[in-house]
């Protein structure tokens, strides 16, 4: 009797705590949302009020009709860059991981250490010289400079190698008896049994590209139509410094794409952290 009441109280406290945490976590965005519809004079008007007295859409018009930047084009190009990068990154890193996990070749150990240790090199250390390299390759101000340099990743190869090690070897042996080549086994079997890690890594690659800021700032300087979304948000935040409604529209609309993708893959990601957490 006593124990069950205690449990009930515990459950109630637990739920209350979870509600509180949800509120804190969502609060900053929720607080900002209605201000997208507030006029310039109302936005910092005291006393504080959450919903606008007068709903206006001027801020949206400003963001979508800028003479020199195309906001929607930026979202589109950032999404395109991110999607292409996810596909290429999964392909390139999974191929390498499969080679390391299931194929024997000379100098394997050396190549493994070589590729794996690249994950300990922080981006900032090679930022300036990477810009030199891409400029030497004539990639500056092209879509390729946004995609190609970040495709291969020591960590992702490591992650997939660990996962492939867990795949039973008899699958491979059976496929070889059926006459499948090593490459065939990878493309026909391994890519199909790796949905969960592909979603987890794919999502993190997508977020990395979609949210990237420093690299586009360094490499896309002349072609404003290739401005990545965070780069544009930052540009607008300094241009419309006194006009927060506009800045908030630009910022919050940019979150729609990652949120929708998360909603779609949410189940995989939240469960997948138990695998990915052990990095």
């Amino acid at each position: 009797m006593k124990a069950s009441t205690q449990k009930k109280i515990g459950n109630v406290i637990g739920k209350a705590l979870m509600c509180l945490v949800i509120l804190i976590v969502l609060f900053p965005v929720l607080w900002a949302l209605p201000s997208m519809f507030k006029g310039r004079s109302e936005i910092f008007e005291l006393p504080l009020h959450w919903l606008p007295n007068e709903w206006i859409t001027d801020n949206f018009k400003t963001v979508f009709n800028m003479p020199d930047y195309n906001y929607l084009l930026s979202i589109g190009s950032t999404t395109l860059v991110s999607v292409l990068s996810v596909v290429l990154s999964l392909l390139v890193n999974m191929m390498a991981a499969y080679a390391f996990a299931r194929v024997d070749f000379p100098f394997k150990k050396f190549l493994w250490i070589y590729m794996f240790s690249t994950m300990f090199i922080p981006g900032i250390t090679i930022l300036l010289t990477s810009v030199r390299v891409v400029s030497f390759l004539n990639m500056l101000d092209t879509i390729w400079v946004l995609i190609i340099p970040g495709i291969a990743s020591g960590y992702n190869i490591f992650f997939f190698r660990q996962y492939f090690y867990g795949v039973p070897k008899y699958i491979e042996e059976a496929a070889m008896i059926d006459g499948l080549s090593k490459g065939g086994i990878f493309f026909r079997i391994y890519t199909r049994i790796s949905t969960a890690p592909m979603v987890i890594i794919g999502m993190s690659v997508f977020m990395g590209y979609y949210n990237s800021f420093l690299w586009p700032v360094m490499t896309i300087t002349k072609k404003t139509e290739l401005y990545q979304i965070m780069q544009l948000v930052r540009t607008l935040s300094s241009r419309y410094k006194g006009n927060y409604g506009v800045v908030l529209v630009a910022t919050l609309i940019s979150l729609i794409i990652p949120f929708s993708i998360y909603c779609f893959f949410q189940k995989y990601i939240v469960q997948g952290i138990s695998i990915a957490g052990i990095k």
């Binding site: 194929v103 390299v133 990601i269």
Partner: protein, 314 residues
């Protein structure tokens, strides 16, 4: 003549492959699968790193064609640069606060999630992850909006209570607080989920046996939970430490490193100086290499600790 060459080639082949000829029968496929990643990593990571290392030992100015080997001079210059040293001290302060706060918060909240039996925990887990999707730039704008001096949420409340408003770009302590808060906000959900994953992976019978032996919750926490989750702690700590040392977007957007360099971080310092014509870029690059040595050492130590613990467990 031709057959002699072929014999030599065969001998060479045998020397490399030796009795592994069978083992290596798919070597060509292996190299083909590896090639794209190998080339990309070489061109976009290894080559830039090598150039950076070489340049850090030369006096290199973009306007003069003279390049002079100067040994460790650039490194000596950078560690005597007050701003660079300050940026490291700031990063250290941020790292300590963020690691301690984030570990406590996420570890405690993971227990709340684990205790839930109603299914509401599932929803909570899905929601707390959301800030992890937001970039430092976007998060900073939302926080700048809340801390606006004229009438943002925080100052609005302070003004209505007849209190002095706070200016995060003028007061050192508040500047630091509002660099740390968005960082905690962005990472909290992810870290809580990692901790939760660690908690539910601990076998239940450990706790049942301990209960039979009359252990209280504190004993269980210290003797079972913490040791079982050592790897999760190590990895979370190194993730948070690396993240704190590499902080850039939030201080860049929130405070620009000010006031008086109180929120300047190493990466922000390097970013500002890459475009500074007065300081030789070799000096900045030497600083960048020092950042790599520190972060790299940290990461590899923890990585090998975890790996060796894993092999012990097996």
């Amino acid at each position: 003549m031709k057959s002699e060459g072929k014999a030599k080639l065969n001998a060479f082949h045998a020397k490399i492959f030796g009795k592994n000829k069978f083992k290596y029968r798919y070597a060509f496929t292996g190299y083909a699968l590896l090639a794209p990643a190998f080339i990309l990593l070489t061109v976009f990571v290894v080559v830039p790193l090598l150039i950076a290392i070489v340049r850090s030992f030369f006096d290199y100015r973009s306007y003069a064609d003279v390049q002079k080997f100067v040994g460790l001079d650039n490194y000596l210059t950078i560690i005597r640069t007050t701003s660079f040293v300050n940026s490291f001290l700031n990063a250290l302060l941020f790292a300590v606060i963020i690691v301690v706060a984030q570990l406590l918060l996420s570890f405690s909240f993971a227990h709340v999630l684990k205790a839930d039996k109603s299914g509401f925990g599932l929803v909570t887990r899905a929601i707390v992850y959301i800030p992890y999707l937001i970039s430092g730039v976007a998060a900073s704008i939302v926080f700048l909006f809340m801390t606006n001096y004229g009438g943002g949420l925080i100052n609005g409340i302070l003004l209505q209570l007849d209190m002095k408003p706070i200016a995060i770009d003028m007061e050192k302590t508040w500047a630091r607080v509002f660099v740390i808060l968005p960082t905690l906000w962005l990472g909290f959900g992810y870290n809580a989920l990692v901790m939760y994953a660690g908690l539910i992976n601990i076998p239940k019978d450990y706790y049942e046996a301990a209960t039979l032996d009359g252990a209280n919750w504190w004993n269980k926490l210290i003797k079972i939970t913490v040791p079982s989750m050592m790897n999760y702690f190590l990895l979370t700590i190194v993730g948070l430490l690396t993240g704190a040392l590499a902080m850039f977007e939030i201080p860049f957007m929130m405070t620009g490193g000010g006031p008086l360099e109180s929120t300047l971080t190493p990466v922000l310092y390097l970013f500002n100086n890459y475009r500074n014509v007065l300081q030789s870029s070799s000096v900045t690059i030497a600083g960048a290499i020092l950042v790599m040595i520190i972060i790299g050492t940290l990461n590899s130590v923890v990585f090998f600790l975890v790996q060796s613990k894993k092999s012990e467990d097996d």
